[in-house]
């Protein structure tokens, strides 16, 4: 194998891993859109809020400490204890369920039957509100995220030595695959499997699909729209927590986590807004496509020899170009539902 082909194989594998991380973000959008027709602009901020809440609970931080101190002149910041990661994750899930209830109770309950654009605008407002509340609640400093299931069993990061050695023995060049990416892939597979089982084989899942298909028909057979929407927002909140953990482990938990939504948009355009497999396949295509394109264009041996110039930092725009190319041939996305409206 030529060096370039070996390097391209490494880039391909890393693209697949990156695609899984994009898909994790896109999943949250799909769940809500599928069940309620709402494009949830706040999904990225939900990932931020969930990750901040997790770190805050883990480290025993007092919520709204700065606000309390400013009003009452106190100097409290921490409770003085630390919470185990598993308990902290459970508590964070409860907070996300509470958030789902509040979103439904105070925002969307009043907007039932409104145009999709109104619902979309409401999620923009929700995003800004949640950003502010997250900062006020947990502070805006960058926080280190350590999720450990047991002593010494924390989220792994860094090169996977086994793959490095195996590929070195095969090709004379060790592939870099991040342990965190492998973990994210396993978690994503489990998550998607759980979501499929939940939606196909549980009463609540079937009710969710019924609402997604036709909410008026679902209402007529006694499905509570209110309950289903809270359920969907809760599941999306859980998916946001998983995405927040995976992305937060790389960069620390900080405001920029909310921007990961930008990575999900081309995935949604490509995979379709209503398909869970679409989010996964779309994520993989975008991840591999953008990484291979960047590799090709930044290489003097490839792009330099062909075009006489090289390019860097192509990933952000190329992901959208790739999605647009797909849209030309399949406007509904790869797995999206084809909507036919007859006049």
């Amino acid at each position: 194998m030529s060096d370039q082909l070996i390097y391209a194989s490494e880039v391909f594998l890393n693209g697949l891993m990156a695609g899984v991380l994009y898909a994790l973000v896109a999943l949250g959008f799909v769940l809500i859109f599928k069940a309620s027709g709402i494009f949830n602009f706040a999904q990225g901020v939900m990932a931020l809020f969930a990750a901040m809440t997790l770190v805050g609970i883990q480290s025993g931080q007092v919520p709204f400490a700065h606000l309390i101190n400013a009003i009452f002149g106190t100097k409290i910041h921490h409770f003085g204890w630390e919470v185990h990661s598993i308990i902290a994750i459970i508590l964070t899930v409860l907070v996300m369920i509470l958030l789902a209830w509040m979103v439904q109770r105070f925002i969307f309950k009043h907007l039932v039957g409104q145009e999709p654009i109104i619902l979309f605008m409401a999620t923009i407002g929700l995003a800004y509100l949640l950003e502010g509340v997250a900062d006020l609640m947990w502070g805006s400093e960058i926080k280190k995220l350590d999720v450990c299931l047991a002593e010494g069993a924390c989220l792994p990061q860094g090169i996977n030595v086994a793959i490095d050695e195996a590929t070195y023995n095969l090709f004379g060049y060790g592939f870099f695959i991040d342990n965190l990416d492998i973990t994210a892939t396993i978690i994503a597979i489990l998550l998607v499997t759980a979501l499929v089982i939940f939606s196909q084989y549980t009463k609540q899942g079937r009710a969710m699909r019924a609402v997604a298909d036709d909410h008026q028909a679902a209402l007529s057979v006694g499905v509570s729209l209110n309950y289903i929407w809270i359920l969907v927002w809760s599941v999306a909140g859980f998916v946001a927590l998983v995405a927040g953990i995976m992305w937060g482990a790389k960069s620390g938990v900080q405001f920029s986590l909310s921007l990961i939504a930008l990575k999900a948009l081309p995935v949604l355009m490509l995979g379709g807004f209503t398909s869970i497999p679409g989010a996964i396949v779309g994520g993989l295509i975008i991840g591999v496509g953008e990484k291979l394109f960047e590799f090709f264009m930044s290489s003097g041996d490839l792009a330099g020899a062909l075009f006489g110039f090289t390019m860097n930092a192509t990933e952000n725009w190329f992901a959208y170009v790739l999605a647009l190319i797909f849209l030309v041939f399949r406007p509904q996305g790869l797995f999206g539902e084809k909507i036919i409206e007859r006049v």
């Binding site: 860094g158 790389k250 620390g252 920029s256 990484k291 590799f295 990933e315």
Partner: protein, 424 residues
């Protein structure tokens, strides 16, 4: 009735007029948005120093100072709005704290006659005071930073034939050092490898795979925000030696290294000011500001890199105001007088010691020709176990033989584009 209405009108006008008794220092801060983690400590340091002057010294020259904070969210449009909203308050000097805002404000501040200080950021060629009459970027700029990094590497051994990568934020800011590094590469015979990272920099796998394949001897980073934290983590992931990884001063705060934990140990960053809180001025800040409940923030950022930078900026502004008061023999100075003070600013070791900041920054003086100062650069290194930065070199000179012609060329082009007649 008419008399009463007239009295009310006069009272209303008086109430609406700026309070001329205060020396107003606007702070275009960003406590919200993606870069808040960096903006908050800087803004706190800037505000706390002026609070200290008020509480301990009764202000500057007997006149109280007032920090006028306006939230920009690191957004250029909001920054310009802040400038327009605050310039009528008697604002003496602007610190835009953003290269984008700086570029927008250069013509505006010049037209309005208000000086602007862009310390370690902004338009590098503003160091030429003959063209940029109201913009100052002492004591160091981006090009000094690039040269400082290369000088440091040369002090560690021969760099001829070596490969040095620049990992940069794909923006006007990130691209600033490219020209300087290209010149230096030609001069010293090292190979320059350019690696761009798009905003915000949350995903950098391709870039670090490229670095792993091409194995540069050293990596220099011009990053900001989340790009820094991800880059340091990715460098650790590919086992790139942290000792060979150098960040510009905007990639060298606690925020940047803490998320990577122990893996960030040994990472280096350039600086133009001291680190830590082992300076007498911090005792005064604790006593007069924090303990008195007058701190701008929670008081937990004192001694961090960005808090110190904000405090240093405030100190330089206060010293320029004192110089202006001396030059014009009045305590109540105007923006025009402040500009004169900035242009005549002289920072000596004795003055730094007197201010409770001995050795915190280099000695330098500003002149009409040189608004950029001497461009002396130091190197810091992160100790992950102690959780501290240490200054590991002196503030050393940079290669002005390479930098000055670049400054002259860029400022000459600005002057011709804007019909400015250069001169002092």
């Amino acid at each position: 009735m008419k008399y009463k209405l007239g009295t009310y009108a006069v009272a209303a006008v008086m109430a609406a007029s700026p309070v001329m008794a205060d020396l107003v220092f606007p702070s275009l801060s960003y406590r919200t948005g993606p870069y808040a983690a960096g903006g908050i400590p800087f803004a706190d340091g800037y505000a706390d120093y002026f609070t200290l002057l008020n509480e301990r010294d009764g202000g500057i020259g007997g006149v109280e100072t007032r920090v006028l904070e306006c939230e920009t969210g690191y957004n250029t449009e909001k920054g310009v709005e802040c400038y327009e909203a605050t310039k009528g308050e008697g604002s003496l000097v602007y610190q835009p704290l953003s290269t984008g805002i700086t570029y927008q404000l250069i013509p505006k501040t010049t037209a309005d006659g208000i000086p602007m200080h862009t310390m370690g950021y902004g338009r590098t060629s503003a160091a030429n005071g003959q063209v940029f009459s109201h913009t100052f970027n002492y004591p160091a700029n981006y090009w000094n930073g690039a040269s400082g990094a290369i000088n440091y590497l040369m002090s560690q051994g021969d760099i001829a034939g070596k490969k040095i990568a620049l990992v940069y934020h794909n923006s006007a800011y990130g691209k600033e050092p490219i020209r300087t590094l290209e010149e230096l590469s030609e001069k010293h015979g090292f190979e320059l490898m350019l690696v761009a990272v798009d905003h915000p920099g949350q995903e950098q796998k391709s870039q670090w795979l490229q670095i792993r394949r091409e194995r540069p001897d050293n990596v220099i980073m011009y990053g900001w925000g989340v790009m820094n934290q991800v880059a340091i983590q990715e460098a650790a992931n590919i086992r790139y030696p942290m000792e060979n990884f150098i960040g510009i001063w905007w990639s060298g705060s606690e925020n940047d290294v803490l998320p990577a934990g122990d893996a960030a140990n040994g990472y280096k960053a350039l600086t133009f000011h001291g680190v830590g809180s082992d300076f007498p001025v911090f005792d005064d800040i604790q006593k007069y500001v924090v303990d008195a409940g007058k701190a701008a923030g929670a008081g937990d950022q004192i001694g961090t890199v960005l808090y110190n930078r904000g405090l240093y900026a405030a100190m330089l502004a206060a010293e320029a105001a004192k110089t202006a008061q001396e030059i014009h023999s009045t305590a109540e100075i105007t923006p025009a007088m402040m500009r004169d003070g900035m242009e005549a600013l002289e920072i000596t070791e004795a003055k730094m010691a007197e201010l409770g900041l001995p050795g915190f920054g280099p000695s330098f003086s500003v002149s009409c020709e040189n608004h950029g100062g001497p461009g002396l650069i130091g190197m810091t290194q992160w100790d992950a176990s102690a959780g501290t930065w240490s200054l590991i070199s002196d503030f050393a000179e940079t290669d002005m033989e390479v930098i000055q012609p670049l400054i002259d060329a860029d400022s000459a082009s600005y002057a011709s584009e804007n019909n400015i007649e250069a001169g002092c």
